[in-house]
C-alpha cells in the first residue's frame, strides 16, 4: 500500500496521468471534428444535389463539392438577400453560394432592437441566419438578424 502511494506521487505517475488526459482531450477533439464534418458534409451534399436539380451541370460529388469552397455550414448563413419568395429567402454568402432559407411561424426576425415581420425584409439586406439544415438542402430559419448596410470607406 505504501509503495502504491509512493508510485502515485512519483513523476512517472504524473507523466502517465498527463498522457492519458492528453489522449482523452485529443479523442474528444477528434470526435467533435468528426461530428462537425459529418454535419457539414451532409448539408453540402444536400445543397449540391438541390443546386444540380435546379441548374443542371455536373452531378455533385465529393470532388465537385470541395472545389474552392469546402463543405458549407448547414446551421446558418450570412450574406445578402438576393431573392425573396413566399416563405423563403435566397441568401448569397461571401463565397457566392446561394442558400435557400425557409421561414416558418417560429422564425424570429430582428432588426436592431426590434422584431420585424418577414414582409419587412428587402432584397440586398445583409442578414445573418441561425437555423436547422433540412434534407432538401435548405435551412429552416430560427433567428434572422438584419444587419445595417456596410458603410463605404472613404478613399484616400
Amino acid at each position: 500500500m505504501n509503495r502504491f502511494t509512493e508510485f502515485l506521487s512519483s513523476r512517472t505517475a504524473k507523466v502517465i496521468a498527463l498522457s492519458v488526459a492528453g489522449l482523452i482531450v485529443l479523442l474528444l477533439v477528434f470526435m467533435a471534428g468528426q461530428f462537425v464534418g459529418f454535419h457539414k458534409a451532409t448539408y453540402s451534399y444536400a445543397w449540391g444535389d438541390r443546386y444540380w436539380q435546379s441548374f443542371g451541370g455536373p452531378r455533385p460529388g465529393p470532388g465537385t463539392m470541395m472545389e474552392g469552397r469546402g463543405f458549407m455550414p448547414g446551421h446558418g448563413s450570412f450574406g445578402v438577400i438576393v431573392k425573396i419568395a413566399s416563405g423563403s429567402l435566397l441568401v448569397q454568402d461571401q463565397g457566392g453560394a446561394e442558400k435557400e432559407i425557409v421561414l416558418t411561424g417560429d422564425t424570429v426576425i430582428r432588426r436592431f432592437e426590434q422584431t420585424v415581420a418577414a414582409s419587412d425584409l428587402r432584397v440586398n439586406d445583409q442578414v445573418t441566419v441561425i437555423g436547422s439544415p433540412t434534407q432538401s438542402g435548405t435551412i429552416e430559419a430560427k433567428l434572422i438578424r438584419v444587419l445595417p448596410a456596410p458603410t463605404a470607406t472613404p478613399q484616400r
Binding site: H39, F78, L147
Partner: protein
C-alpha cells in the same frame, strides 16, 4: 601527480570548458532563431485567423449572441453546432503553435543563459 599529469588535466578541463561554451552558443543561436521565427509567424498567423473567421462568418454569429442572447439561447443547439462548423480551426492552431513555440524557445533560452 607530476607536472605532466597536471598539464594534461588542465588541457582536458580547458577543452571541456570550450566544448561547453560552444554548445551553449549553439543552443542560444538555435533557440534565439526559433524564437524570432515564431514571433515573426504570430503576425501572419493572426491575420490568417482573422481572415478565416471573417470568411466563415464566425464573428457575425458571435455578434448575434451579443446582440440577441435570449433568442440565440432558444436555438442554442443550432448555434453551438454553427459555431463549431465555422470556428477558424486552422488560424487558431497556427496562432497557438507560434505562441507556444515562442514561449518554449524563450524559456529554453533563459535556461541556457542562466
Amino acid at each position: 601527480m607530476d607536472q605532466h599529469d597536471a598539464q594534461l588535466l588542465d588541457r582536458i578541463m580547458t577543452r571541456i570548458a570550450e566544448i561547453r561554451i560552444f554548445r551553449r552558443r549553439v543552443r542560444v543561436a538555435s533557440f534565439g532563431t526559433l524564437g524570432l521565427v515564431a514571433l515573426a509567424a504570430v503576425v501572419p498567423a493572426w491575420r490568417e485567423l482573422s481572415e478565416e473567421a471573417a470568411r466563415s462568418g464566425f464573428w457575425q454569429y458571435m455578434s448575434m449572441f451579443i446582440h440577441d442572447p435570449v433568442f440565440v439561447a432558444s436555438a442554442w443547439k443550432d448555434f453551438v453546432v454553427l459555431l463549431a462548423e465555422t470556428i477558424p480551426a486552422f488560424g487558431i492552431a497556427a496562432v497557438a503553435a507560434s505562441v507556444i513555440t515562442f514561449g518554449a524557445s524563450v524559456r529554453s533560452l533563459a535556461r541556457v543563459t542562466t
